[in-house]
Symmetry: D2
């Protein structure tokens, strides 16, 4: 990685200093293992309160694990999951949902990464036919893998549709903080429609910690055993808990996400009139997807790290983070502009 | 947990200060995610060197995960695992091996927790019978769940037997450090007989980190995908790697384990002639199993935390750790002695 | 196989002529596939009636499949199964329960193959501990793998214990017919204690057909999908159904089983005073287990086919079937007697 | 089902009389169970010979089971399967591949149901990326779910591409007989490109029996255990074997398939100029897919049974079988024509 700030991913960052401090403070003598400690008690209570969750909160190591645990609380043994084709569980978890849960993903092309009741309804036509995979859960991502954000009203419509159709709703909230910041709403408002959701710490300044939040009971009942079977029961769990204690204190999560979102908007704004650069989706979180003149990419990657999202159509993804500075963004914009100017008309 | 030192488990401790320091140092700006960082490169190279491993090293979050990943590298799809009845994978992982790997465990009663070629051989009689589960892997634990330790010659015999009988050998090394310290031998000597093994950091002073070491190639080939599917790919992996960098620097792992072992021996020695206390197994690591007069237990647990291992026969487990002090042990011994004296003849 | 009758297994027989006739009759032009045919409607209705089942009946191909489907209706995703060590699901299905259901079997040594509430209760001590596999289902076999038979009162006690302890009860009824014949009771009486059970046709004169009977609703709801996923949905299901129509007509199943049971009793009676032959278990179905002077076995196997059950203790299993004749038994007894006489004192 | 011949599926038929006769003949006294009988020996030897298979042949109960067993011989534990979106394993097996094998299906839209090396190549771009499911097997169907047939040269190209790219090739041959008949080639020619394939009996006149044919060794080695775990080991296997003995005798399979194919061609020919009826795909097996004026369908279904394949675009599937007669087809054509004439211009 170059010395310069990475625009590759919000998990290229280190940890927020408050998170690190909390971990150090938790390193205070002996504590009961496997979550029977005071830090875990406080962190999960705080998360339950913030989400207004009826059920319990379960800390796990990473985002894929949160998704698998969350889905496993909601799926009957034979059921399938409806999700967007671009969903992380479909594209970026190496087939973990199929391998660990044995579930089929019924995927829906969704140009902006967002599902709607109408799109979901199309997947229900084979219900009751024992040859066809039977959907039991709808999984959406907030904010989506394309940087877009469901409005609270959109979430409510999906939730209502699911509950009217014997579907349970799971939200992959690896970047839920960015949605809360973008929509300026509480975690409870974001979560209200869901049965279970995850809340990501890792991309928000943690060392590595995610929470699975159970909104409706009795869905918590099996979670401790499923978490253990899914290899997610931390023995020294206080160190996961401490990270969430830091992120929830005075809503650090919101400040971190707001800043990252603002940096993404600043980046998009800085590129608005650059020839050969076209912003693809509304910038509603910490990601900017842009279709970029192929000639720019190699030149730009000499100094900056970022991913080409779709080689075929020359779309790149630029991500900001809690620690991206205005200066980082501005220098990046300058680089792009200067490359674009040098390139001349395409 | 009482103010006093826990004798409950070596995972009731916090992290060693050198581990914490290494984590803090790794918090240095951006780094590639998912293990493509410098810390991971260095830590895995160091571990490969220390184990003289042909294959790669894969960092994971906890001991159950290390066991599952390790076994998954060795098992053909239909195969079963031979292990001791007391094996952690059988008793303490909530059925993860069956759930995640779909494998049957063929368990062998082993009074001291140790398998032998003869015990293993008894499990091979149904080979080739398609009604019977077919063993493909032998899993042993070093040091065992009962605090005993396989000698290097014993390991070699098991390894030779396995390889002569189309069985692969896995070692659950959650406490491999304690074995290295007890036997005063290198990690490479401990590992030589195995195809794959784990090396535990968590019980040795880490915040939470384990390594899966592949001794023979081409067994590494599928490991990256299996690790991801098994929910063990850390995005900010440098923080796992940093912990191992601390533990391997000047063999901190050995110093930690030696100290813990010594404290266990001190505890056992201090109790040698106490009436109503009978040490059950050779003390070869950081655990002391003792059959204790039932009347002592409740009194002792008022001030000290530890687990009753087997209620029926009144056996308790006392564990020390890298941070147990001589004073901790001595006060604990005094407590037991004074309770024993107060109790009078049983 | 020798020309003589096999005493190897009740599945060495062919099909009963009435079964074959029913299959031929079902070969009458087109019919809807996958069970939407008239034969299946009639056979499952007849079985529901005979078992007084609240739920539906699902036809499958073999006994292992019936067990797996039955258990899958009863197990929560994380749960384990309590069964006897000698249970077919534990010893003779190649680890299918672990592989297909991901469930751990918590096995109990049971000298006569029968569980009791006390034996089951011992497996419940770790409930609520997320490190330990959590039992959700008790699986018993009727008649057992050792040829013994639970009395109806014994079944009721187990059922009551299960339902009082949040356990569901499954009966592997591969030889349920033999129990009905031995106890001279109805299928409904045998099944009343259970949540789900299987009813075996194959060992009772079918070509190959088993039924999964759901006694309590809403346990049927997921069965069609689980049956399909478990590869048990027959396209031309009428041919499975026809077999059960034959077996249930005028209780052919009972006549077949009664005869087999009687032949086993005749065999045991004929051997009562033969030196070197000791009948091990009460003969309560179509199996005779005998500890036999090692010298007899090879001689006897020259002319007759049967299995050595346990080489170490020289126990053999002799099985009769619906088509074993008195003459078959008598000739077999004569063979054994003459070998015993020739052998002289052991 | 109406009295008239079903055009719903080739599994609406009964069994061919030769198949039934073979089953009756196999009902001859005792035989070893689980495939150690003479019928199984002969049938599998005959199939090995016909396919020129290096490996063994394994009989199973149905087509889904054959697919799952076949794939399980070819997939490494973490791997995914490339297949057409229309593949039976993707659409009609209730998610069995995901549930039983834990594998992800990487599906490719293929308008005529056929894959090509180019289409397969597009699925290989994420190889080596541990976030992405890794393809290990290509599964094609011959003849396809859309009634089309790969030419032998097309098969060879796919096979060559697979083997040059570390992919194994599986053929779902539920209707392989129809391909052999259509292409007028041997089973060995059809199978040569594959590593493993299935050969369907059920849709070709069997009561219910499919074969898994292993073309390359050592792929047979694990098959007995996987078959048992996958609930496909028939105890009275001679009755499965007898069906294949009948189908292979004087290539009855080919005569059955040729006739069915011819009836489909006759049907298509009869409809060529009917207004409002458009044949969608080349008729290369026993299926005719037609886009039909919506007004005809309900009227036609009053007297004839068949499935609407795609409601949205008004495509129906008409299937013939070994026992469809010219008169059946002609009456069906007359019905369609008369409805079309009555309907007038759409």
């Amino acid at each position: 990685m170059a010395d310069r700030k990475s625009f590759g991913s919000d998990n290229h960052t280190g940890a927020h200093e408050a998170v690190l401090r909390a971990v150090i403070e938790a390193n205070a003598g002996d504590a009961m293992a496997y979550g029977a400690d005071e830090w875990t008690r406080r962190a999960t209570a705080e998360l339950r309160r913030a989400f207004r969750a009826e059920g319990d909160v379960f800390l796990v190591f990473n985002g894929s694990a949160a998704n698998i645990l969350g889905l496993s609380l909601l799926l009957r043994r034979h059921e399938a999951v409806i999700c967007a084709e671009s969903a992380h569980i479909n594209t970026d978890e190496c087939g973990a949902a199929e391998r660990i849960l044995g579930t089929k993903l019924l995927t829906i092309p969704a140009p902006d990464g967002k599902l709607t009741p109408d799109l979901i309804a199309e997947q229900l036509s084979a219900r009751g036919d024992d040859h066809r995979a039977q959907p039991g859960v709808v999984a959406i991502t907030q904010t989506t893998e394309l940087g877009t954000c469901y409005a609270v009203a959109e979430l409510r419509k999906i939730g209502d549709f699911c509950h009217a159709n014997d579907l349970r709703l799971y939200i992959d909230g690896a970047r839920l903080a960015n949605a809360g910041a973008y929509l300026d709403c509480s975690l409870a408002e974001l979560a209200d429609c869901a049965d279970v959701l995850s809340f990501g710490g890792t991309k928000n300044g943690a060392l590595g910690a995610e929470a699975v939040v159970v909104m409706r009971e009795p869905l918590s009942a099996d979670a401790p055993y499923l978490r253990k079977q899914q290899l997610q029961l931390a023995s020294k769990m206080r160190y996961l808990a401490a990270q969430f204690l830091a992120l929830t204190e005075e809503d650090l999560w919101r400040r971190n996400a707001s800043h990252a979102n603002e940096m993404a908007r600043r980046l998009a704004a800085g590129l608005r009139d650059v020839p050969g650069v076209h912003i693809c989706f509304p910038v509603q979180s910490d990601a900017v997807f842009a279709q970029v003149d192929r000639r720019y990419i190699e030149a730009l990657q000499r100094d900056w790290f970022f991913y080409v999202w779709d080689e075929k159509v020359s779309i790149v993804r630029w991500m900001t983070a809690f620690d991206t500075t205005e200066a980082d963004v501005d220098r990046f914009v300058v680089s792009i502009r200067s490359i674009a100017e040098g390139a001349g008309p395409g």
